[in-house]
Symmetry: C2
Subunit: 113 residues, 2 copies
Amino acid sequence: MTDGPTDPEPYYDCHVFCCVNERPDGHPRGSCSKRGSVRLRNYMKARAKELGLGRVRINQSGCLDRCELGPTVVIYPEGVWYHYETRDDVDEILQRHVIDKGRVERLMLKLED
Amino acid sequence: MTDGPTDPEPYYDCHVFCCVNERPDGHPRGSCSKRGSVRLRNYMKARAKELGLGRVRINQSGCLDRCELGPTVVIYPEGVWYHYETRDDVDEILQRHVIDKGRVERLMLKLED
């Protein structure tokens, strides 16, 4: 689906949603939060602010339902998903995807994942 | 920005984020949660499930930073924002936007809002 003729301009050029869902210990699917997503999201938010990125928003979200691949993040309007584990991963996503408008191929999730 | 040549197919055709941020009583900006967003989001999620909508996800999110216009919801990949207050609003957004791929003009937020 493409934008309809009456859609306003985008409010954010880059809108990042970081799953911070937490399931109880021992849940078979696990959860992004149990895999460290909260600290990763907090770091990403802080770094984006330090970098002075305009029209970029780093949000937490509820369960994105790709738990087994977590921690996961999805970036819109592109709809590109990443798995990330470290601060270096966050830095690379911010620099290469958010700032340079490229992709971090090594962290991207595929549809069939 | 358009999709790069290596982007996977979208995981969700329609990804809805409902702000459920809650600020303390008396905060000058208010918050979506204080304006009833949690029950609206829960209803939207339940209705989407009842309607059997595939490849549609209704997520809660942290603060979307358009608090004064709340409760707010943003739908990607279109990047269309709505203010909603009632179950009828939710039903209209699900039917007209999510299912029919149209827009609910009366509830849409503009960039300058």
